[in-house]
Amino acid sequence: MLPIDRFAWTNRWSSHHPGERMLLAGGLLILTLVLPPVSTAPLVLITMTAATVLGAGVPVSAFIRALAVPAGFLLAGLPFIVLSLDLDGAPSLVVSAEGARMALEVGLRSLAAMSCLVGLSLTTPASELIPWLRRVGVPQAVLEIALLMYRLLFVVAARATAGREAQEARLGYTSFGRSVRSLGLLTAALLSRSLARARRLEIGLAARGFEGELRVLSRPRALSPRRLATAGATLLAVGVGGLSLSQVLA
C-alpha cells in the first residue's frame, strides 16, 4: 500500500545515520524556499534526483511515481495563478504577464521542494525522522504516540484493503448509494476493530508490566564526517550556483 516506505527501508543509504540525509534534503529544501526559484529550483531538482537515484539506489521509476501525484496536482493548480480575474465592470479572465511569472516561480519552487520531500522519504523511514522532532520541543508522549501510530497504521491499512476487496467482490461499489453504504460499513468496522486492538494491546502490555514507556532496539549508527562534508559541499555548490545563475539570468 505504501511503496515509499518500502524503499525507505531497503535503499543503499538505509544503514547510514539518518542525520546525513536530513542535512542534505532539509538544506536543499531551505535553499529552494529562500533563493530565487527560477535559477535554484532546477539545480535542486537535479541534485536531489541524482542523490536519490544514483546515491541511494532508489529506482528512477519509483522516484518519478512518488513525484507524479503531487506534481499532477501542481500542474492542475498553476493555470489558476496564470489566469487573473478582472473585477472591474463585467468580470473577465485574462492572462497576465505578472501571473505567468508568478506561476513559473511557484511551479519550479514547488516541484524542487517536492523532490526534496520525496528524496528524503524514499531514503529514510518515517520512524527515524520522528525522534528528531524532540529537538523542536515536541513532548515525548506525542512522539511515542506518533511512533506507535506508524507501527499500527500498516496493520489498519492491510485490514482496510482486505475489507475493500471483499466488498468489491460482493458488488458493494456498483452504484453511488451502495458505495456510500459500503464505505460507511468499512469505516465503522475499521474503527471498532482499531479500538478493540488497542484494548487488547493494553491488556497484553499491562500483563508485561507496562509503565508508560515502550523501548525498542535500534541499530547504533555513527555520523560519517566524510558524508556530512559531502552533503555540506553539495549545499554550498547549489547555493552559490543558484545565486550566480540568477545574476546571469538578470
Binding site: M1, L2, I4, L29, L33, V34, L67, V69, P70, F73, F80, S84, L85, D86, L87, D88, V94, S96, E98, G99, M102, V106, R109, S110, A112, A113, C116, L117, S121, A126, L129, I130, V138, P139, Q140, A141, V142, E144, I145, A146, M149, L152, V155, V156, A157, F176, V180, L183, G184, L185, A188, L191, S192, S194, L195, A198, E202, L205, F210, G212
Partner: protein, 227 residues
Amino acid sequence: MHIMEGFLPPLHAAAWTVVAAPFLVIGARRIARITREQPQAKLLLASAGAFAFVLSALKLPSVTGSCSHPTGTGLGAILFGPSVMAVLGAIVLLFQALLLAHGGLTTLGANIFSMAIVGPWVAYGCFRVARPMGLGIAVFLAAMLGDLATYTVTTGQLALAFPDPASGYAGAITKFGGIFALTQIPLAVIEGLLTVVVVNLLVRYSGEDLDGVGFEHRLDTAGEAAR
C-alpha cells in the same frame, strides 16, 4: 485540501506554522497529562490516529467520476474532541507528507491550521449546537460544515499568498473559492452522508465503542478521578 510542498512563499509557510503552534501546544500538553495519568491511553490514541490516517487514504465515492478522499475531520472531532484531534491530525498530516508525498513539510503548518484545527473545531461546534435537532442531522452538519470550513480556510491561505495581479485579494478569493465551490461542495455533502452512515452503524453495533465517544469525556473524568 492539502497545500503541496513548496507552494507557499517562505514567509507565509512560517506565519501559518506560528498560528497553528498554540493549538498544538495546548493539545500536546493535554495529551501529555492524559498519558501521564493513564499510560495505556497512548495505545488508544495511537490506534485512533492510525485509523484516521487510513480513513483519509480511502477513496470516496463520487458522482462526477473524479476521485477524492474523506478528510475524516468531522468524525474525528465528534469522536475524540477537537483539542486531541489537533495533535492527532497534525501527526496524520506529517505521515501523509512522508509516506504519500501528499501535502508537505514546509506547508505543514498551513495544512494543520485548516485541516486539524479549524475543521475539527467547526465540526465540533456544529455538532454541539445541532445535537438537539437529532443525532443524524447533527452529525451530517458537523461533517459537512467542518469540511467546508477547511476549504474556506485553504482558499483564504491561497488568496493571501497569491493575490490576483488585476483585482487583488478579492479577485483571488473569488478565483480559488470558485474552484473549491465547484469541486468540494459535492464532496463535503458526500462526506456528511458517509459520516452519518458510520455513526449510525456505530450506535447500532458498537455501543461500547461509543461510550468512548466519550473518548474525550471519558479520559477527562478519569483524569479528575485520579486527581
